[in-house]
């Protein structure tokens, strides 16, 4: 008597949950809105419209808050990807910092000095993402000196600002921002984050956002073009949200 054949196991990719699809769609809508706001700065005469700054701020806050919520939920229910934890903390800290900045401007009435507590929250994004990428992605074969190609020009730019405006807390913080933005880009290159294109784009966008913001906060009379910083922040988080969901979808399937 022969034993019955073992049942054949077929791995069928699981359909992503409905909430997953809803979140993906939401981030795409937020991305579209943010790109629209970005376009307003570039195209519309006066580079703004009534209520533009409020809309821009609310979009940034909502997008980064949604990334936090999406990361927390995805980590708890769908995938134990530690990058979700890192990104959740990064986006959460950024949301709080931006909420603080916006509240301060509304409540105290004067523009927030630079540097200040809000910048601590903005800076917090970088260590979380850098640590997350190093934790999750494997180091590729690119030589480490490639990092110097990114970091040296950025450091030179910050030092030029320092030479022009003096060694002040503002210029020192700008140097720190420049180095952190550069480090994030370098880590995402050395750890092949670019394999996830949307995530990589989000990473580049968030670095560019903070480079521009640091420069804008340091110089006394920034060019109107720096109005893109707000919408660019929202674009960054929408891209990060989509990119992280792409990773989660792979894990689900």
């Amino acid at each position: 008597m022969t034993s019955p054949d073992p049942p054949i196991r077929v791995d069928v990719p699981r359909t992503p949950p409905v909430l997953f699809t809803v979140l993906s769609a939401l981030f795409q809508v937020l991305l579209a809105v943010s790109i629209g706001l970005f376009g307003v700065v570039l195209v519309v005469p006066g580079h703004s419209f009534p209520g533009f700054h409020d809309l821009s701020n609310y979009t940034q806050l909502f997008t980064s808050a949604m990334v936090t919520i999406a990361c927390a939920y995805a980590y708890a229910r769908w995938s134990r990807d530690v990058l979700l934890l890192h990104a959740g903390f990064a986006a959460g800290g950024w949301t709080l910092a931006n909420a603080f900045w916006y509240s301060y401007t509304l409540i105290i009435g004067t523009s927030l000095p630079y540097p200040t507590v809000a910048d601590a929250g903005f800076i917090g994004v970088f260590p979380f993402l850098i640590a997350g990428y190093q934790e999750v992605f494997a180091r590729n074969r690119f030589p480490s000196w490639i990092g110097l190609l990114v970091l040296c020009p950025l450091a030179a730019g910050a030092l030029w600002l320092m030479a022009d405006l003096g060694v002040t807390p503002a210029t020192l913080l700008t140097l720190l921002f420049f180095l952190l933005c550069g480090s994030l880009v370098v880590v995402s290159l050395l750890y092949s984050v670019y394999l996830y294109r949307v995530l990589f784009l989000g990473t580049l966008a968030i670095s560019l956002t903070h480079l521009l913001n640091a420069y804008r906060s340091t110089v006394l009379e920034p060019h109107w073009l720096f109005g893109i910083v707000g919408p660019l922040a929202a674009i960054s988080f929408a891209l990060l949200g989509i990119g992280l969901l792409v990773r989660t979808k792979e894990a689900l399937q």
Binding site: A76, R80, A97, S103, T116, V117, G124, A131
Partner: protein, 219 residues
């Protein structure tokens, strides 16, 4: 009087420490550190307030959170350096003890400063007890629980994550100080914020019991 109160409150606790062991001793040590951090922060903040008195800086919103959160979380960083990464979720409780110790001393500072009397002083103290004190405990607990979450991560990630957690605590603290001290309606939000955080921390502390992970969860 701050130094006197600090000594009066902490010296008896040192004697109690001698009799305690294990987890109890660690928790009380963190509470005593919190009291010490409160005293140190008082003197540092005072000097910084004088330094920025003539500027547009709002010290209680933009300076105090940085000083206070760094001081309260200091023993957590020392613990990691000295004992390595041998910790459990107890870290949340230890961190919270440090925050509450800090709050005890700060409450004393405020009560003596305002010289309240009668029912008003009771109401004030109760309000501080369920808002600012809980906020101090929760902010440090966020850092403690965050460190616990990093268990199993590579060692090189740790400094970055610690710094990141500290920035989160500082920002929430600053937001709380801004809302509670400078707004009307925003005060309501500020009063709710610490209690909300406390419940959230209670949930995540017990999350394995409350929300067991789905069996099919990919690790």
């Amino acid at each position: 009087m701050i130094l006197e109160f600090y000594l009066a409150a902490s010296l008896p606790l040192f004697f109690l420490l001698v009799f305690l062991e294990g987890e109890q001793r660690r928790i009380l040590s963190f509470l005593v550190w919190g009291l010490s951090a409160g005293a140190i922060a008082y003197y540092i903040n005072y000097q910084l307030y004088l330094l920025f008195a003539s500027t547009a800086v709002v010290p209680e919103v933009t300076i105090a959170p940085i000083v206070e959160e760094i001081l309260k979380a200091l023993p957590l960083f020392v613990l990691l350096l000295v004992f390595g990464r041998q910790y459990s979720r107890e870290l949340l409780v230890l961190a919270m003890a440090s925050g509450f110790g800090f709050a005890i001393l700060e409450n004393y500072v405020f009560i003596t400063h305002y010289e309240l009397a009668g029912i008003g002083s009771i109401v004030y103290v109760v309000m501080r007890g369920i808002t600012t004190s809980v906020m101090h405990g929760c902010m440090t607990a966020i850092i403690g629980y965050g460190i616990f979450l990093t268990y199993g991560f590579s060692r090189r990630s740790l400094p970055a994550i610690l710094f990141g957690l500290l920035t989160v605590a500082i920002t929430v603290h600053a937001l709380f100080n801004l809302l509670i001290g400078h707004t009307g309606f925003g005060k309501l939000l500020a009063i709710d914020l610490p209690l909300l955080l406390f419940v959230l921390l209670l949930v995540v502390y017990n999350r394995e019991v409350l929300f067991p992970a789905p069996p099919e969860l990919i690790s």
